[in-house]
Amino acid sequence: MMTLTQAKMIEAQPRDRRATARQAHLWLGLLLIAVCAISLESGASGVSLLGLVTGSAQDDTLARIILWEVRLPRIAMGALVGAALAVSGAVMQGLFRNPLADPGIVGVSAGAGLGAITAIVLGGLLPPALQSLIGIYTVPLAAFVGGWASVLLLYGVATRGGRTSVATMLLAGIALGALSGAVSGLMVYAADDQQLRDLTFWGLGSLAGATWAKLATAAPIIGLALVAATTLGRGLNGLALGEATALHLGIPVQRTKTLAILCVAGATGAAVAVSGGIGFVGIVVPHLLRLATGPDHGPLLINSALLGASLLLGADILSRLLIAPAELPIGIVTAVLGAPVFLWILLRRRGLVDL
């Protein structure tokens, strides 16, 4: 049994989750490296970097091509997209002050998808000068605009006087997702054969089409959004106490909100543009991290990026191995892992939704 003095000593030094959260940077970084290594070594072709280095590979050139042109860009893209989705989720949850706000669930991914599809199908109609100016960035930029418009609309509908109504947010998200889906469906009718092939592959949510060229279109936008997101820690912590209190804490509330919306739109938009709608990463990762190391957004945003990257790469490995040599769309894997977590949060915090 604990004596009274022992109990007092324990409370004299309250549990400090900050150190744990900072140590987690290291552990999650190591985890990411490990997952990258496993991902590089696993695949239908049986090629491995280890084999190449030790000289036991049968066909050096083929092995080199598979590793360099297939697996590496896929790993880079998986890590980038996973980080983007998880950080989008964390930022959006901070902005809406609600753990259920996820770009996939509230229709932001669908809005970004609509932007991307519009660009794929109607991009040819842009004036040539503009086309050559934005070039390969047309699709991710259009996805960014679609995502941005969605977040703005959602924030305008669900947030009044600095308070978010969770019910309105979820319902508006359903409407937004349905509308974007319908218009995207219309676009498909206007598409030609080649565009249709692009769209089908992309709609499933997959990392299979990863190339260095594609990565180059998304990486700058996602990179910028991730770096910007790491500056939001203090602002989002303040916003957790309400907009008025954040203001009194000296937080530039309007700038924080604008930057948060741009980060979500940029990261979600670019991720959706290159890999389609991969759901639930944005809700599972921040939620697990909040349970483990607390809701402080400073470390949370960095840890979300690291764990999101690892999680998506892990899901990608599963999607390649489960029914090898065929491949499962990664969106199915993340949904099977993520949907129960979403329901779990909903059940635990039912009062929060108060429908």
Binding site: P14, P99, P295
Partner: protein
């Protein structure tokens, strides 16, 4: 010195404050009293620069406006009437959010000392949402204390703005929090508190601003403002201020209200 000069304010198309002028001195505890809906919270929100108002408001010579909130943060802390929190932060983490916004962020001992002041050190690791309403209110007070630790800084006095700081507290903690506020004022800081309880107002305030329907109807020491005539007119029921034999501060007994 906090000065509000001819302040008017509309919310949602309705005029809430009408030509309010008042001044509050550092070193004093200024209480804003008045019936429900008389505009006390709205006045406090204008005085802290949370919402823009017509007229001029200055704090220690600095203009008060939402635009200047960042410059004001190191010099004034605000305790809102109702505080919500979105994520499962622990008590100490909530206090640290305030601490990080103030001038003493380099002193890691302050959050725990602030919790000591409100008697909640032993709950430092508890999740904020699991606390009772009164405990949450004290945590928020500790958060404000950790932000504005010293009553005065190099550029003059610092200020605490408290909206009904003791409304959900038991009588012991009511006295505790009011003593902390009075102590802050006694050491040179400025305190403006919206007060619900007229007895506590009478005990602790140096100056009382009585509001009614968005107007200041009386301003002065508790002795001059908390009178039977003023209270009966403002609160719409016949109240009599009682004077006990010892001491000279007025106190109110609802038992003395006459039907009418």
């Amino acid at each position: 010195m906090l000065c509000a000069d001819h302040v008017s304010l509309c919310l949602g198309g309705t005029a809430i404050l009408h030509d309010v002028s008042l001044s509050a001195r550092a070193g004093h505890l200024t209480a804003i009293a008045g019936p429900n809906g008389s505009g006390k919270t709205t006045l406090l929100r204008a005085l802290t620069g949370e919402i823009a108002a017509q007229g001029t408001i200055t704090m220690g010579g600095l203009p008060v406006h939402p635009r200047h909130a960042m410059a004001l943060a190191p010099r004034r802390g605000v305790l809102p009437q109702a505080a919500r929190l979105a994520f499962p932060f622990t008590v100490i983490e909530v206090v640290r959010i305030g601490h990080g916004a103030g001038r003493f962020a380099h002193r890691p001992d302050l959050p725990l000392r602030a919790l000591d002041h409100v008697g909640l050190r032993h709950m430092a690791s508890r999740t904020y949402q699991d606390l009772s309403g009164g405990e949450q209110q004290r945590v928020q007070f500790a958060r404000v204390l950790a932000q504005i630790w010293e009553p005065a800084g190099p550029d003059g006095p610092n200020w605490l703005f408290l909206d009904e700081p003791v409304s959900s507290l038991d009588i012991g903690h009511q006295l505790g929090v009011m003593r902390l506020a009075r102590d802050f004022a006694a050491r040179g800081g400025g305190v403006v508190a919206v007060m619900h309880d007229l007895n506590l107002t009478s005990m602790f305030a140096d100056q009382v601003v009585m509001m009614q329907s968005g107007r200041v109807v009386a301003e002065g020491t508790p002795e001059t403002v908390i009178t039977s005539e003023t209270l009966s007119a403002v609160y719409g029921c016949d109240l009599a201020v009682s004077e006990p034999p010892p001491g000279n501060r007025p106190y109110i007994l609802p038992q003395n209200a006459r039907a009418g």
